[in-house]
């Protein structure tokens, strides 16, 4: 392992993380809910009465973030290496996996670890290890 110092952004990443934490805090303390993105979106696919508006509002906030961001400062670069087929396969796996495992990086990783849930710790370990393993296979064994 070598450290990629040229791409290392500890301060902006820490600041972004603190903003994500604040978003989680606002949603928890005001609305009493967990800011788990896959759960919020997944809930829209089995709509229940009175349970739709806040989900749409949260997603709209998320979608409008780049617009608001670009009013203040230029957006950072977006580099997508994956081709179309890989993106579709990855998307399907992320969709099925996050719903089957009841959460993603936000719900299990941020919220779950913040409230010290053993279940979320196991889920986070599972997806992190699988992510490490996948990149290892793609970049170093196949690629």
């Amino acid at each position: 392992m070598t450290i990629d110092w040229s791409n290392f952004t500890p301060w902006s990443s820490l600041a972004g993380g603190i903003l994500i934490g604040l978003a989680t805090a606002v949603f928890l303390l005001f609305n009493g809910r967990i800011a788990g993105i896959s759960g919020i979106v997944g809930g829209l696919l089995r709509p229940a009465k009175g349970d739709v508006a806040w989900r749409i509002a949260f997603v709209l906030g998320l979608l409008s973030a780049p617009v608001v961001y670009s009013l203040v400062t230029p957006l950072p670069q977006v580099r997508v290496e994956a081709g179309s087929t890989l993106l579709v396969v990855a998307g399907l796996l992320v969709g099925i996996g996050t719903r089957y495992g009841s959460g993603c990086t936000s719900g299990h990783g941020v919220c779950g670890l913040s409230r010290r849930s053993p279940r979320s710790l196991v889920a986070t370990a599972a997806f992190m290890l699988a992510g490490f393993a996948t990149v290892f296979v793609v970049r170093h064994l196949v690629g």
Binding site: T2, L19, N31, T105, V122
Partner: protein
């Protein structure tokens, strides 16, 4: 009011994702590439988020109700089962393949061109497949449960 706070939370969340670098899939894969040229930045994202999140959950622990009057809806499941682990692994493989997880993919819809759109459509497809499988297995269980 609930809807407005949800909108604000989503917006803050998205701004944090963009500032942190999570909306750049190459950076995410750079973090997951332990054996290569490793970019540890995303550990700082998790660290910062959990730091603030921990305080929030401690504050929430003693409150029966949220500030807007709703009951606190915290997850009640505690079982560590096959679904949790297999679901996590499935998600992790997809995350490693493209460098997108659900939040950053949604926050990238307006900036990343067609690729995040394609990813999000496939992700929604995956979630619909999950819903269909759940319905199917629920119906199956009902059928195989003997009548009393």
């Amino acid at each position: 009011m609930q809807v407005i706070m949800a909108l604000i939370s989503g917006l803050l969340f998205g701004l944090g994702l963009i500032l942190s670098g999570m909306t750049d899939p190459s950076k995410v894969i750079g973090f997951l590439d332990l054996a290569g040229n490793w970019d540890p930045s995303l550990a700082f994202v998790m660290g910062g988020a959990i730091l603030v999140g921990s305080v929030a959950f401690r504050l929430a622990a003693n409150r029966p109700k949220a500030l807007l009057g709703d009951v606190m809806r915290l997850p009640t499941a505690t079982k560590i089962d096959r679904r949790l682990v297999l679901g996590g692994i499935t998600f992790g493989v997809g995350w490693g393949l493209a460098g997108y997880c659900p939040g950053p993919a949604l926050a990238s819809l307006a900036i990343g061109g067609f690729k995040p759109v394609l990813f999000v459509l496939a992700m929604l497809g995956g979630m619909l497949i999950f819903e269909a499988l759940e319905k199917f297995s629920a119906a199956n269980q009902q059928r195989t449960t003997p009548l009393r």
